[in-house]
């Protein structure tokens, strides 16, 4: 059996060994509650402070107290949007994009249904770029919060959040960004932007699962999601997840250290894979915007076949990736991101996302390049749409149930 190749790092990453080591003491000898008066708590408080400082550095925050630890990206997103609404009761509208993570979209849909909040969902074009004119038109004095992701999880497309935040500021709206996929992969300097809140997650940057953070700009009116203790300066009640926080701090430190590697070597691996696949396999194309994209993500649509089959055959070869196909999600809903980009369904179903990390090597790329062509060929031989390379698809008009 050959060594497995993991190319699903936008789903989750391997927790770095150094991160695990940084966490371990806080389960045992350093078990104290940072809120306690005694010595058991004191040293743990120091560790939380250090972790906060290392996150501050990673996202370029002006102050360390702008970092609020949470349980992860979903909590941070919910916290940000609900806080902004509560803090500005005279405003009743949200602006978001069609390609956000469900943590944002489901919440917005829920608020629309239960609280009568007006939600503007800004469309994207075929490359996944935001319709800026529609965004400008939606902004008004009624906008409580704008929530637009920094980078898309499926295609890696990067949004111009700094500029979007400036526009939001003009109408006095709060600007939140879900940067779960961006933090640790691209340089971020929040103090030079008008971004008010930013969500990040530990397990996307080789940290542990169950820990994340919300950046809250100094001076922003904030309402806590949970009611309880005074932790995180009253912004997030509940005893701190100290091992998780220590781990996230270490992961942030390492991410900064590997940032250049991510931008150069990892991006190079991604580019070589992408180019190689396009050369070797007919009828496939890159989705998203290759000009402005995360360095680690490639999303390639293989026409006339379906993603789950591709993933199952790849998995048999020990290669892990993910798909925009309907059938790989529990809900059977095809990817809302690729649908928003109006990718034809015969291609969207066969879209495969390869997401790299610093753990990947040249050998991984070689292996995938070797394995993919026969997999695609095998499935195309089974497809009623496939007629041969660069041929128009077969006439096939099924009766749909």
């Amino acid at each position: 059996m050959t060594t497995p190749v993991y190319l699903d790092n936008n789903a989750t990453t391997r927790c770095d060994e150094a991160v695990v080591q940084a966490m371990l003491p806080y389960f045992t000898e350093q078990f104290g509650n940072p809120s306690s008066m005694h010595a058991f708590g004191a040293s743990v408080g120091g560790a939380v402070k250090a972790a906060r400082a290392s996150l501050q550095k990673l996202v370029g925050a002006e102050f360390d107290h702008e970092i609020v630890f949470t349980s992860g990206g979903t909590e941070s997103d919910n916290m940000a949007i609900l806080s902004a609404l509560e803090a500005a009761p005279e405003r009743s509208e949200i602006i978001t994009s069609a390609v956000e993570h469900p943590a944002v979209l489901s919440l917005c849909a829920h608020l629309e249904k239960t609280r009568g909040i007006k939600v503007h969902v800004i469309p994207v074009d075929g490359r996944g770029l935001l319709d800026i004119a529609a965004y400008r038109a939606a902004l008004s004095e009624k906008t409580a919060v704008v929530s637009i992701m920094w980078a898309n999880n499926e295609t890696g497309t990067i949004f111009p959040v700094a500029e979007l935040a400036e526009l939001a500021k003009e109408v006095g709206a709060v600007f939140h960004t879900d940067a779960v996929q961006a933090v640790g992969k691209i340089p971020i300097d929040l103090k030079s932007t008008a971004i008010d809140m930013l969500s990040l997650s530990g397990h996307k940057l080789h940290g542990p699962k169950g820990i994340g953070a919300l950046y809250v700009k100094r001076g922003l009116r904030f309402r806590s999601l949970f009611k309880g203790g005074h932790q995180e300066r009253g912004r997030r009640a509940g005893t701190e997840n100290t091992p998780g926080i220590a781990g996230l701090g270490k992961a942030a430190e390492l991410a900064l250290l590997h940032m250049e590697d991510e931008q150069t070597r990892v991006a190079g691996l991604r580019d070589r894979l992408e180019k190689g696949l396009l050369q070797r396999i007919p009828n496939c194309f890159v989705t998203g915007n290759p000009a402005e994209r995360l360095p680690n993500t490639a999303n390639i649509a293989f026409e006339y076949i379906e993603g789950e089959g591709i993933l199952l055959l790849m998995n048999r070869e020990g290669i892990a990736a993910s798909s925009g196909s309907a059938c790989t999600s529990g809900s059977l809903e095809p990817s809302h991101v690729l649908r928003a980009m109006k990718i034809p369904y015969t291609a969207a179903h066969g879209a495969i996302r390869f997401s790299f990390s610093r753990d990947n090597t040249d050998a991984d790329v070689d292996r995938v390049l070797e394995v993919m062509p026969p997999i695609i060929e095998k499935l195309r031989a089974l497809s009623p749409f496939w007629k041969g390379a660069d041929q128009a698809p077969a006439t096939f008009n099924p009766v749909y149930a």
Partner: protein
């Protein structure tokens, strides 16, 4: 990752009968809108005997769609068209050792492709009226369309009745509010159509789900859902189906007590006691069961009420038998008599 059986995996990795059949004289092309999958079934049918001599498929779809298509071709070759039309989607799923509830529509697609191909051979046009909706009950793989049909056909007005008819909500009950929403909506429609009085219609919130008992327990892996087209027709024409009763009976047989050698009288008494325990479940579904005789290890029973003539009676009998075996520790056989 989906929990596919080894047979599903095998039929996906090494599909049989894939490709174009040049000599095909019966072709069915169908798709499932719920996931975008599509299937082309090609058959060579002997015009004289109507025996399916060969069958191949081409599928645009996931692993289970490909496996279901391939399984279908394996099942139908050698059968006459009449025999092939008796095959339900459940047969395809069973052939593969079961499918995850979310993937049952893959087998429905196979069933429909077959209907379409037969229609094509006979020069008819096949149209599909089968609509599915989102999956509501994950334990038993019951979708919105199936609940809606059951409510409509039988004028159901409580969530419990929905569970009795479709099994939906018979397990973990996290779908209760989903069932409630479909029930209330369809009841409202029935009232508007004048088929149900306003007072009878179900209103959201009028049942406390905490009071509902677990009526059935999914097998591990989850019981193959009955998306089957045929039983659905039965729902519309027959009295309540006591399937949950059978399942409930099996659900109670957690710990078979080891029983020492019994005298005949003790044995009959024990069987009678056990049947008494089961009867409330049967009665809940309008059925009943009476002990006629015990002959060695043969337990003769008489089914009554809704059980008579019910298609699911054999399931009920099996359930009763399992329960009796569990309780007595004897290799009993339940034989129903008219």
């Amino acid at each position: 990752m989906w929990d596919y059986t080894d047979k599903v995996k095998d039929y996906f990795f090494n599909p049989k009968n894939a490709g174009v059949l040049e000599t095909a004289n019966a072709v069915g092309e169908v798709g499932a809108i719920s996931c975008g999958d599509a299937l082309k079934l090609m058959m060579r049918v002997d015009p004289e005997t109507e025996v399916i001599e060969a069958a191949t498929f081409q599928t645009f779809g996931c692993g289970s769609a490909i496996a279901s298509s391939s399984a279908l071709t394996e099942i139908i070759v050698g059968k006459t068209l009449g025999e092939a039309l008796q095959i339900s989607n459940q047969d395809i799923a069973d052939f593969l050792g079961g499918l995850p509830p979310e993937k049952m529509h893959c087998s429905v697609m196979g069933y429909e492709a077959l209907q379409a191909a037969v229609a094509n051979f006979r020069g008819e046009t096949w149209s599909d009226d089968h609509e599915e909706g989102g999956l509501v009950c994950k334990c038993f793989g019951v979708d919105e369309g199936m609940i809606e049909r059951a409510v409509r056909a039988n004028k159901l007005t409580t969530p419990e009745q929905v569970t009795n008819f479709t099994k939906a909500g018979g397990g973990c009950l996290t779908c209760f509010e989903g069932i409630e929403a479909v029930l209330a909506r369809v009841n409202e429609e029935l009232v508007a159509e004048g088929l149900l009085s306003f007072d009878e219609a179900y209103r959201i919130g009028s049942v406390d789900p905490r009071a509902l008992k677990q009526k059935a327990r999914p097998k591990a892996p989850p019981a193959p859902p009955k998306l089957d087209i045929k039983p659905l027709i039965a729902f519309e024409t027959l009295a309540p189906v006591p399937a949950p009763a059978a399942a409930a009976a099996t659900a109670v047989l957690e710990a078979p007590a080891p029983v020492a050698r019994l005298t005949t009288v003790q044995k009959i008494r024990l069987i009678e006691e056990t049947l008494e325990e089961i009867r409330p479940f049967l009665k809940q579904d309008g059925g009943d069961c009476e002990l006629v005789d015990v002959d060695g290890n043969n337990v003769i029973v008489k089914l009554a009420g809704a059980c008579v003539g019910c298609q699911m009676a054999s399931v009920t009998v099996n359930g009763v038998q399992e329960k009796l075996i569990a309780k007595t520790g004897l290799p009993l056989r339940v034989i129903p008599v008219k």
